[in-house]
Structures are given as structure tokens and as C-alpha cells.
């Protein structure tokens, strides 16, 4: 996992609540056994007018000009501004993979679905929860000002506007540490291998039916 450094990025707004993982990356693309290449099919059913299947050349497909991410002003966006319960639905990590592969590094929303939220941290994509009144304000600002950018400073746990307005966000201390240092969680867990073995041994004695 790459280290998460402070950056300033273009913001794109996705103004609907309950955006589900089927919308983020439709099921036909889940047949891939790879971890990369999902970005071209992010929001596939909204982004294109024709039906997408794995293996299609996205450059040859019919773009939906009405979909917000297709507008020229949002090309190169790295921060997705979203509404409540973003990422609800399935546990597919393909959803964060596709957002990251598309170029997003941060998603800001008033709330996220649990599994999606958790999956994001595993790959270095940062989901930020801000109060819905602040998110409302950011939606207004993005829509009004072309080229609207925000700075995300994970160390300070702050989203900063161009005019230095700071919005502080919460992040678990362990997750923050992993993101800032680009740490591999499996490696960290295996530092406790002895403890896991002891736990397992004790469990084997107390609840032997689990190991039969």
C-alpha cells in the first residue's frame, strides 16, 4: 500500500444518497480474477449509454453526457463528494478498487456503509465523514466554482478549502498510522503470531468441537 500524503485535488460531486456497490461497479465486472483495471467501469451504467461487458474497449463506448463525472470540468478529480450511506450493499472490494483505479484518493460523505468504509482503508483510499451540513456547503461550493479543489491533510485530520477554512474529521488512530506509513496489515498482524497461536491452543482445549 502506498503512503497517504497530504494533497490538494479537484473535487467531483455525486449528488445522490444510498449509492450502492452495484452502481459503483456492476456485477459483470466482478468476474475478473485481477485486482486492477476496474476504473474504466466505475459507475458503468450511469457513465455509458450502451451496456458494458468485460473486455469492451471503453474508448469505443457511448458516453452519457449527462453523468456528472463525464463533464469536462471534473476530469482528473481526485476527491469524490457524495451523500449519505455511500457504498451500501455488497462486500465487493471491487468498489473501492474501481474508485481508486479511476483516480479518486478520497471520498467525502455524511456517512458510509460499514463494509465499504472498512474496505477503503485496506487499499489506501480514505473515506472521510463530515457533518451533512458541511457536505451541503461543499456541494454548493463545488457546483458554483469550476475547478474547485480541497486539500486533505490526514496528519492534521483536516479537509482544507482554498480560503483556509478547515473541516476536522475523525479517523481511527491505528488506521491513520497504517495509511500514513503505507503499512501492510497482514505483516503487522503476523507480529502477533505467537499470541494467535496461544489463543488458538487455549481455544482448542476449551472448545475442541471447533477444531474437529
Amino acid at each position: 500500500m502506498n503512503k497517504f500524503d497530504t494533497f490538494t485535488g479537484l473535487v467531483a460531486p455525486l449528488d445522490r444518497a444510498n449509492v450502492d456497490t452495484d452502481a459503483i461497479i456492476p456485477k459483470q465486472f466482478l468476474k475478473s480474477i485481477k485486482r486492477s483495471g476496474f476504473g474504466q467501469n466505475l459507475f458503468d451504467e450511469w457513465r455509458y449509454l450502451d451496456h458494458g461487458e468485460p473486455g469492451m474497449d471503453s474508448a469505443q463506448r457511448q458516453i452519457n453526457p449527462d453523468f456528472v463525472l463525464n463533464q469536462s470540468r471534473y476530469q482528473g478529480a481526485e476527491i469524490l463528494l457524495a451523500r449519505a450511506n455511500f457504498g451500501c450493499g455488497s462486500s465487493r472490494e471491487h468498489a473501492p478498487w474501481s474508485l481508486q483505479d479511476y483516480g479518486f484518493r478520497v471520498i467525502i460523505a455524511p456517512s458510509f456503509a460499514d463494509i465499504f468504509f472498512n474496505n477503503c482503508f485496506k487499499i489506501g483510499l480514505l473515506p472521510i465523514v463530515l457533518d451533512s451540513s458541511i457536505v451541503d456547503r461543499l456541494f454548493e461550493a463545488v457546483k458554483q466554482a469550476e475547478g474547485y479543489r480541497l486539500t486533505v491533510d490526514l496528519q492534521k485530520q483536516a479537509v482544507v478549502t482554498a480560503d483556509d477554512q478547515e473541516y476536522v474529521f475523525e479517523v481511527d488512530i491505528f488506521r491513520k498510522h497504517c495509511l500514513l506509513n503505507g503499512l501492510d496489515e497482514i505483516g503487522l498482524t503476523l507480529q502477533h503470531a505467537e499470541k494467535i497461536k496461544q489463543f488458538e491452543q487455549k481455544r482448542r482445549i476449551e472448545q475442541p468441537w471447533l477444531f474437529a
Binding site: R16, D20, E93, D114, N118, F174, I196, Q207, P208
Partner: protein, 471 residues
Amino acid sequence: MKQTLYDKLWHQHVVHQESADPNSMALIYIDRHLVHEVTSPQAFESLKLAGRRPWRLNSILAVADHNVPTTDRSKGIHDPISRLQVDTLDQNCDELGITEFKMQDVRQGIVHVIGPEQGATLPGMTVVCGDSHTSTHGAFGCLAFGIGTSEVEHVLATQCLLMKKSKTMRISVDGQLGFGVTAKDIALAIIGKIGTAGGTGYAIEFAGSAIRALSMEGRMTLCNMAIEAGARAGMVAVDDITIEYIKGRPFAPRDDLWDKALPYWRSLHSDEDALFDRTVTLEAAIIAPQVTWGTSPEMVTTIDGNIPDPALVADEVKRHDMQQALTYMGLQANTPIQQIYLDKIFIGSCTNSRIEDLRAAAGIIKGKHIATNIKQALVVPGSGLVKQQAEQEGLDRIFREAGFEWREPGCSMCLAMNDDRLTAGERCASTSNRNFEGRQGPGGRTHLVSPAMAAAAAIAGHFVDVRGLNG
């Protein structure tokens, strides 16, 4: 201190905690790891690249369910991409020595059906799977939840997961359910009440006399849809019904081990007066059969209701979402639910494909035939063993004579990763769990209902109130 069932399950599995703060990240031991073909290939690949091996092989049970065809399997899978994904699971399992029920095995089926069916899901376990509907297994008094592919790899490599303790919610449903009202209707009524994000951050325990009265199959249906209420885990306390269900199943303990397990299993309930972070109550008697009308499970009403009118909703975002949903669904506000005509019927999925579901549907359609406007009606049993049992009971004949197609087990049209799907604009009464845009096929329109309601709609051609039928 008084503990909830979730507290007990959590404390039993903490291997390590980052700090003295009970809300800090904890390392949780995983007892059962269920694996399917869609969310595992990248995990196995990374595991191999890192030179690691699975920590405990006999904790793992694998099956292919999402991509498998539900028609004749003797020729294999014709879609090369689907085939590669299933072959990859087979190869990974063969190579590492993981127990897998392959496609031709009679025990193959939907991962959340076969775990309990085999007794591989036991009370007190932590059960994980790279699939959000893993919450199903909580019906057995387990802590069961869906994980992403990075976590699949983490469990393979370490037998543990890093996580934070959830808040607790008790949803009590008391009283007696009316005739024709099922666990599916309870699930949808709860989601209608608390919303699809109502359970976010919580582990839900379903309690109350109406829950105690449910069979294990009903409890599985209910816990299955905890995730649709936003909760990663749903659970029900262990009682005689739980224990009776498990007894004699292939992976369940026997003899001395069974006797040893029982007292522990019987302790798996919330202590009286245990404190929950949130409690919700519903009265069973007033729950009517439910039908979803929109593109989120919370967009639900009763069979005697009408499609709500967005114009009456004050919240701007919500109004906009409702309008968008009605446009997608091709429906008008204020239309009575019973005037919605259907094109397809799907009875199946990890929510409703067990033997009792098939019996309930067969009971409605026996001696009748699907309406002329129904283009296709599918029954997809949850496993090969469910299919076998249903055939022994003659249910397959009832379905076939009524004009239903009797299929091989798998996820099928719940998410349409195989060939079973809706085409654009088609409207389906489905016993599955998600009515998201495109879920059952691009442009497809899904209405979530119970098996009895789906069966009744198949016969009438439109939604009807099962409470008015004699069965």
C-alpha cells in the same frame, strides 16, 4: 457486568487489543471462513505472492455459487470469464488442500445455505465470508459478517481480522405473525422502519416472542437482511430450535464433543437487563406482507398500500431519490401495489431458497398455473440437497406443472452474474434481498417479496395479498 449476546461473542474472540480503550482496534480470531469464487481469487494470488499459506485449513469451506449455471451442468460453464473464475477457485482449493464442494457435487449450493446445512456454522463461532450476506449465519448465535478481499487474504494468512467493536441494537418483535406473514416480511418491515442505514455501525440482535417462534430457516432469512438495514452482523440467541437444527449435521460435533458444546451454546443469549445502545420494537400482529416499490430495500410498503408520492416528502435529497427510483421502476405515485403487473418471478437466493421457502411457494401454486403475462418463473433451490429434498416431496412437480422452471442451485438471478437475468424494463417479483438499479440485469426492475407473495403474484400476474388466499 450484564452482557449482550454480541458482547459475549466479541470477548470470546479477542486475541489482542491495541490499547486499554475498549473501542480501539482489536485482533479477532476467526473460527469459520467460507470462500466463494468471486471475492477470493485476488486474495489467493496475493497470499501466494507474499509466500504465505493458509493459517488453518480446516477452518475453510469453499464453494462456487455466483457464476454457476442453473441449467444443465454436464457441459460446464460456457461463458469463458465465468468459467475461469470458477476454475481458479477449484485450482486454489486443490493446490492448498481446502475442502470445496465442486459444481457437480450434490452438496454444492449458495455459500450461506450450505454452511448451516452442513453444520459448518455453529453457535459461538465467528463466521466470515467475502460476501455481505454472511450475516445470515448469525441466526445460530454466531458473530457472522461479510468482508472484502483484502480481509479474505488477512484471514487466510492470520486466522484473524483487525476490527473495532460495533455498537449494539436490539430489535424486538413481539406477538404473533398473521397468516401468510413471514420472516421476509419482518425483515422488510424493519428496514422500512429504520432505513437502509439504520443499522450502520451496529450489530443487531433480533429478539422477542415472534423471533423465538421462527424456525431456523426464518431466522436465517431475517439475519440475512440485517446488512440491508446497514448492520454488518445480525444475530439470534441460541435456543432448543437452534440446537435441534444442528444435531446430526455432517460438520456438527457428535457424542462427547456434542455434550461438551451444549452448555456453552446454551449460554449464548443476552443477559437479562443487558444494555443495548439502541432498541427498536415492532408488533408482529400488525406486520402485513411487504412489497418494495423502489431501488433500495427501504423503499417498501404493504401489499394493501399504494406507491408513495414524492411530492409529499419535504426532504429535498429524499424526494429526488424517490423520483429517480420511480422513473427507473416505471411506476407512478399513488398506484395501488396490487395493480403492479409482472413479467418474471424469481424464487431463490440466500434469503429465500431453503426447503421451507419452497414449500411455502408450492403451497400457493399447487394445482394452479402462472398467468399468461408471466414470461418466465424460476425456482432456484439454495443447494443440491435442498433440491433433492424438494424433489422427494414432489415440490418440483408442483412447480413444473404450474409453469415454473426447476433449476440447479446457485445465486442465479439474485445478482445475475450467470445467464439468469432480467432484460431492460422487465419487472420481477423476487424473493432475493436487493432491488438496486441493474441488480437483476441492466434496466431490470425488482420488487422484493416473500416466497408466498412471489408465488401468488406468479399465479395472478400481479401482486395479490396472500392473506386472502386459502393456500
